[in-house]
Symmetry: C2
Subunit: 286 residues, 2 copies
């Protein structure tokens, strides 16, 4: 929102220092929300470039500093695209659903490996694990690859609309969109604190040996959030991996396949599968 | 110990597949213990090379497979080297010590960045943090850079000998030698389970918001272990970071500075400093 705010005070363009604790040459992209302000050019530069610019501005020798900015960005019209949904049918509750999802779209400056290729693969992997174990869930288990998370989350909105329209009773929805790093736990979004307490009493001990035992109140994810208003009974859950490296990678040219660790990715999928199993077997209510 | 065991059965040399879950081209080094068996040549190859060799051995076309191994390894005589010790004097207990250590030596196929450059830097960083905060500890706080961990741990042995000789009463010794990754907790080595229980009751809540709250029984480290026999009152503690990537790096040409994440390294040092502060303030006994 910075560029819009700056425009109000007469700025002709805005340069943003990329938000990362790493000192590197990767500028970060992301959404710009101008509100009703003039749409002046806005660009993020890398932390190394920002330091250089800052030094130049402070230097006595380099004055006056000239900054040449040419910006070709534009918003193109929306085009038709789709969510992708895979499902294992439940053996007992044919109208109850547990959904696991990530998103298919990504910013175009990289592959979107962690944001959110890993989430998509983990969602699919939960179903693969259940098939490999010949586990027959009581409830329908869905892996959803959401479309358009980064640019308006129309996929998540449509999914929630259809869930309501088709009277699909979602017990829980889990989103994995914080990177494919070592799993640490799960956060429960806007639920009764007593439920978080109950989950801790019942399941923390089971997850502790794997160090995936941080079961806390917190956010879930952009794609599943629209379910909240459409399917009031749903419990929204965010998968929480180790986040320390995420913003060195997120929305940068550095978000590539080589920066995903296979073992960490698989541990995350196994953790989500474990939670889905527990919910499927024991439910998730007070 | 494999090569010695194989030699007993007539092996003329041994090739070991490197122990990692990564599929890469980095052979791992490490100690070989022949016991009283003939010292036949032994080498580790990378997982990619091991897969290739395995395929060749199974292939009908490639028979017979010839493997040419030339090994120049030799053990040179020991030379004089030193531990490095830094200390902040305690304000109350002038003969009580809390020691934090890592080791200076590393295998020569890489920089030893994670094994154990990060441990050495974290040990120094605990003292720097205390100085930066103007914290005056009650007890003497020592950072020890141990020598010769990889090849006989003579530095750790000598440190323990001198501690006993000088009647230094070590309350606790903490070793950081499992990589400079995101901190997860601490393991308490061979202590009364009631003490681990007490530490959890008193301190787990303080460490939980930072997710450094796994306070469990377990190992400590090679360098501080000799203290156990010399200073019976000492509590040995191992710093436990996220370990998932460690054996992709450990003892390989991949153990380089570029593979250390600055933020994760610093979080580890801050966690160790926090534990040292708690021990310094409240002691560590039943």
């Amino acid at each position: 929102m910075g560029p819009g705010a700056a425009a109000k005070y007469g700025a002709v363009a805005v340069i943003v220092r990329s938000l990362t604790s790493a000192l590197d040459d990767y500028p970060h992209t992301g959404n710009t929300n101008y509100g009703n302000n003039p749409k002046i050019p806005a660009a993020a530069i890398s932390t190394i470039a920002a330091n250089k610019l800052s030094e130049l501005l402070k230097s006595k020798v380099a004055q006056p500093v000239q900054f040449y900015l040419k910006d070709n960005c534009q918003m193109l019209p929306d085009v038709l695209s789709y969510n992708v949904v895979g499902e294992i049918k439940g053996t007992e509750n044919n109208n109850k659903y547990i959904t696991i999802g990530g998103h298919l779209d990504s910013w175009d400056l990289a592959e979107g490996a962690h944001d959110d290729g890993t989430g998509v693969m983990q969602s699919a992997e939960v179903l693969r694990i259940f098939k490999a174990l010949s586990y027959k869930p009581k409830n329908n288990i869905r892996a959803v690859f959401f479309m358009n998370e980064e640019n308006g989350h129309k996929g998540g909105t449509k999914y929630a609309e259809l869930a309501a329209q088709n009277h699909e009773n979602h017990i829980a929805a889990i989103e994995t969109d914080e990177g494919g790093f070592t799993p640490r736990g799960f956060s429960f979004d806007g639920v009764n604190p007593a439920l978080v307490q109950k989950v801790n009493v019942q399941w923390k001990k089971l997850l502790e040996p794997y160090e995936v035992d941080h079961l806390i109140p917190g956010g879930s994810g952009t794609d599943i959030e629209p379910l909240k208003s459409q399917v009031p009974s749903v419990i929204l859950i965010g998968f929480r991996p180790d986040s320390q490296r995420y913003f060195d990678i997120h929305h940068t040219p550095n978000d590539i396949f080589e920066n995903v660790n296979k073992r960490e990715l698989e541990l995350g999928a196994a953790s989500i599968a474990s939670l889905v199993y527990l919910i499927d077997q024991h439910g998730l209510s007070l």
